[in-house]
Symmetry: C2
């Protein structure tokens, strides 16, 4: 195979807000899979707040991306060549494929996916995003019908799914999002009971009004000041699902934490708990079956925000932190029709 | 009964650090119990960080103390007159008796205690203090043998018991206390593996050295900066037992929370959970039996710091926040020999 593989190289660690100059476009050669490995052509790349966290020089739930590496990312691709048992050319796989046309990687690091689902759903509602909403609410937050659930970044990848799951489980659901347009959208399209614009002048008063009966579960995608604003409203035995801290990822230095959280934890017996979906891998099939059944029943609409083109990867990741996306943000770098024809 | 009842009245809410002028000494008359009520003579008064939290104008797990009230506190007393079924003159009871010689209160608000135990143990290791250590470690922290447990305010009422319970459960136990004297005491007398002086110049370096293998459970009695200093050291699936936030109680305004806690919760899947022992009332008998068995076996020494005299109550409460006590702080306001003779 003489084709080239475009690659976005992570050049240097950012010191604060992401800028395009931390990436460099290169043309690499297409690698050859060794024993137990696969050659995968990458189709859809997932852009996630976690991408930013991996740029810090410390391990998270995976090793950090190192300067000189192809930028890490979850993605969906198709097997082009297989030297691993159980994998055939044409199989759809999900894994840490990175920002490149072709990835060579050990078969045990990828997950074979069911090609009856759309690529967008495989990467979104049936991928890390949907599973985060599912496990965060059901296993960590342990939501119950009748409870009040507040979700931040409610128009984002996880929030759009979480809000709908909380609704179909019988909760009252309040979304926090940035701007009137997103707020209207999550109520009209996704069924949130109330949406509150955190950029608006009356955020705290609107929040207080919306949660008069108290907050039972706060699904936290952002951390920082929004968590602080919710602390006074928790009911006894309230839970904080620590899914992400979007506001922290771009900070060069950690910001002070939310005021009053510790004393509220004691007095109201709150529980704040972090999780990652990898910890629930044993039950992913059950979760996927539930999510598919809700989609088929019309109870769950998975919004996706698909951008086009390899060149747009850095700009779209930067845009993620400015809130330019509605629903799950992903970039199509190779069409799956092309992939299919090569298979 | 013509005897007077000395009372410390809570005059006005403090705006920051406690001062004696928020209390006023008065002489009240001894009340008469109505139907279902008891007249109790108060013997030993418990001084706890929670006393300070109750002074804020918001309900905690109980209504706040209101200006004009007799100051609230847990205490041990003896029934002097009973108009409630199941209670007899001479019974030892524990409850929210307050800073006064005599309390009249509904029998259902007190708990009859086993007079075979010493009054000091009933109020300390077998009271709220010991139960906080017991439930905090076993039910909230879910400590396991071989884990590393860090305990703040380690020389205090809860910390002295918690450290010993963690040791007898097979954990490595690191205590944080103020001053070389307390640090030596918790190692030599209570069996802590390591003690670190948070007032010392090398606190952070000593902490890092002591927890090289990571922290599995942090039993937090203080909140604030000490929690922040532990955040970077947690192992995956670490737990923070939110038992108290001593450093917050005296603040007029809530201080910023610990930096990095939220992102650490996500990345390391930490759980921070508050509790109060009242939530575990159904199993108090089992807890008491365990604690007594450990004391009888010589595995648990309950340190008490008993001060004498009704007049010393305000000063000793203020001293609690300066760390003047070792072990459970309590004030004897009436001797139990006197009480027994009146029974």
């Amino acid at each position: 195979m003489s084709e080239k593989s475009r690659q976005w190289i992570f050049l240097k660690r950012p010191s604060g807000t992401l800028t395009e100059d931390i990436f460099e476009l290169r043309e690499g050669t297409v690698g050859q899979p060794g024993e137990g490995e696969l050659l995968v052509k990458v189709g859809l790349v997932s852009l996630d707040p976690a991408n930013r966290a991996w740029m810090a020089p410390v391990a998270t739930y995976k090793p950090p991306v190192m300067p000189g590496d192809v930028m890490h990312s979850f993605a969906i691709g198709r097997v082009i060549r297989s030297r691993a048992e159980g994998y055939a050319v044409g199989d759809i796989v999900e894994g840490m494929l990175g920002w490149q046309d072709y990835a060579v990687l050990a078969a045990e690091t990828v997950r074979k996916r069911d090609s009856r689902h759309s690529m967008e759903n495989l990467l979104g509602v049936l991928g890390i995003t949907g599973l985060s909403a599912y496990y965060g609410l059901l296993e960590v937050g342990k939501i119950k019908a009748g409870e009040t659930v507040v979700i931040s970044a409610a128009a984002g990848a996880v929030g759009t799914i979480a809000g709908q799951i909380a609704k179909l489980k019988g909760c009252r659901v309040i979304g926090i999002a940035g701007g009137a347009h997103k707020c209207a959208w999550i109520v009209d399209e996704l069924g949130y009971d109330v949406a509150i614009d955190y950029k608006g002048p009356n955020f705290k008063a609107e929040l207080a009004d919306a949660v008069k009966s108290g907050v039972d579960v706060y699904f936290d995608n952002v951390g920082g000041e929004i968590l602080e604003s919710i602390v006074p409203h928790f009911n006894i035995f309230g839970r904080i699902v620590a899914c992400g801290t979007l506001t922290d990822y771009n900070d060069a230095e950690p910001q002070p934490g939310p005021r009053g959280l510790q004393i509220a934890c004691v007095v109201k017996r709150l529980r704040m708990e972090g999780f990652i979906v990898l910890d629930f891998a044993e039950s992913w099939d059950k979760a996927e079956a539930d999510l598919v059944s809700w989609i088929d029943a019309g109870l769950l609409k998975p919004p996706v925000d698909v951008r086009e083109g390899f060149d747009t990867l850095p700009g779209n990741l930067i845009g993620l932190f400015k809130g330019t996306n509605k629903g799950k943000l992903m970039v199509r770098i190779n069409s799956f029709d092309d992939l299919a024809s090569q298979a």
